[in-house]
Symmetry: C2
Subunit: 326 residues, 2 copies
């Protein structure tokens, strides 16, 4: 292991997994901490998850750090098969932080939580000197009631891989703003609470895996599946929805949307016979209208393959050089 923390340890990809395994899982002695986005507690009745948010810029098209912090933790519960119910919020704010920005952030958190039926019930506020940090960090932790627990461990060979919509919208929005890049096509963050879109799917008593496609992007999740199950996967570029603005930004910055973070998209793995039911339910929601089958789970361990539009087949590698945006 390295003797210092590297930015790459926060990429959401391989180095993050190694750090978590070495420093946390083996000590805290709970495998749930690495394989799933939320832990099951209280005899499996509840899901529990946590996430900290520091982003630059804090305000963006489609949201702000406040909305993001509610959506991010809520979605970690939702993809575990839970209805998010209670949330804590902890602020670390730098001295001199403008009160009107803080107001706008808390307004946004309150509205997002209320709209999603989530009660923000407890909190903490720390103020630190400007010399130590400038800006705001928000931690949210959430508890949800399990409706039908999903798990990465239940994935089987032959399962189809569905994604709920276009990839890279949140990353592209943040990166274009941060780098001052003008895009000809418009894009906004997909930041949203996904419970309404997924409720009817979770309520069906079927074996499935759901994961929100955040830090590390789609490629990292496909590798996580491989590590957790021993299977591989194949996906087809031509079936993956992606917006023109995201492609444009990827061309300019040399990035790959398969490794970029989203804040309102999920991957779902189910057996082929149920794919149409899941797709139909996703298509009913505005958030899932572009949902598509993009590939399937194979029996080739640790091989994550992409069929490109030019018929070439490549082995995907995890991207660790994409700037963190959540």
């Amino acid at each position: 292991m390295e003797d210092k923390i590297l930015l790459e340890h926060g990429s959401g990809a391989k180095k993050t997994r190694e750090l978590i395994e070495d420093l946390f899982v083996n000590k805290f002695n709970d495998e749930k901490i690495v394989d799933e986005d939320a832990a099951l507690i209280y005899d499996g009745k509840l899901a529990f998850s946590t996430d900290s948010f520091i982003i630059e810029p804090e305000f963006f098209i489609g949201g702000n750090i406040g909305k993001l912090s509610v959506c991010g933790t809520a979605n970690d519960l939702v993809v575990r098969g839970a209805k998010p119910k209670w949330m804590s919020v902890s602020f670390v704010i730098s001295e001199g932080y403008p009160m009107d920005k803080l107001q706008a952030i808390t307004d946004s958190m309150a509205k997002t939580a209320k709209d999603a039926g989530i009660a923000i019930v407890t909190g903490d506020t720390k103020v630190i000197a400007r010399k130590d940090f400038s800006g705001i960090m928000i931690n949210t932790s959430g508890i949800g009631e399990i409706i039908h627990a999903t798990s990465i461990k239940t994935i089987e060979c032959g399962d189809v891989i569905i994604i709920s919509g276009s990839l890279g919208d949140h990353s592209a929005t943040i990166l274009a703003l941060r780098e001052g890049i003008y895009l000809e096509n418009s894009v906004e963050s997909d930041c949203a609470v996904l419970y309404p879109m997924l409720e009817s799917i979770i309520m069906q008593d079927i074996r499935m895996f759901i994961r929100d496609i955040t830090r590390g992007g789609l490629t990292s999740i496909l590798y996580e599946i491989s590590i957790a199950t021993g299977f591989g996967s194949e996906i087809s570029e031509e079936n993956i929805p992606v917006k023109p603005a995201v492609k444009e930004l990827c061309d300019i910055m040399g990035l790959d949307y398969l490794g970029m973070a989203n804040e309102g998209k999920v991957i779902i793995c189910v057996k082929p016979q149920l794919a149409d039911i899941v797709l139909d339910e996703l298509h009913r929601s505005e958030l899932g209208k572009d949902a598509a089958i993009i590939g399937h789970i194979t029996d080739v361990h640790n091989k994550v393959l992409l069929h490109k539009k030019n018929k070439e087949v490549i082995i995907l590698t995890e991207h660790t050089n994409i700037p963190r945006i959540c």
Copy 2:
């Protein structure tokens, strides 16, 4: 309200309460967020709390930021009358942070949690560029099973005020280290999980209020009691346990131990007839061996009085100039 965040907003005293009321409680619409250290959820069966920790220095006599982060959140659950059961941990670490320090911190968290019967079940890790922040921040959120819910609202006029031990140990330890002050007397942080000390008291089915005496110190809690209940309080200086090293540091730095934070001390309010039972239970524990009755609740709203050793009686004011140490 000010147009910018001030350091004072993080003092744990009046300005913190104002900020929380203005920005959070009124929006998130849940009074629990301000009056109690933990919220009751799931039909009152569970307590839920959160806390973020950034301290300098991160390692001190009696603990480190890791131990502190487990104790702090655990104690917020305990004082609400719950047995802490599950915890999340979220790290924000600066690029370049030494891995051996991170190892020592997570070792300490794992041991503290394990010793207290708490399972760390879920987590998050973010790495940020050194230019933005240098060091480590830890958020812990915890869930406990309610044994007998305590509440500030149940305090009655005439209740005795008990504290579980000497005040200011944690603050004095941190401040002496931070300022490079040599103390003739030794002191170490009182950082500890308080469930073992309080279990037998919580299990008794009696009306009581318990609060850990952290940021803002004893004085702030006495004002919180006044705001929440409409009562006042009187305490006697001669009955308040305080260590020679803490007095020494207070003399050097011009601080008041009544406003200083602790990480292993509580205040308990119960009716006079039960005071001896509570004291006896506290005295059984090494952590509570110096527990003492220091005063009582009065019917004079918003008057927090201190009977000094020289027979003078003064009205205590909240301290907002004491450096934050947790």
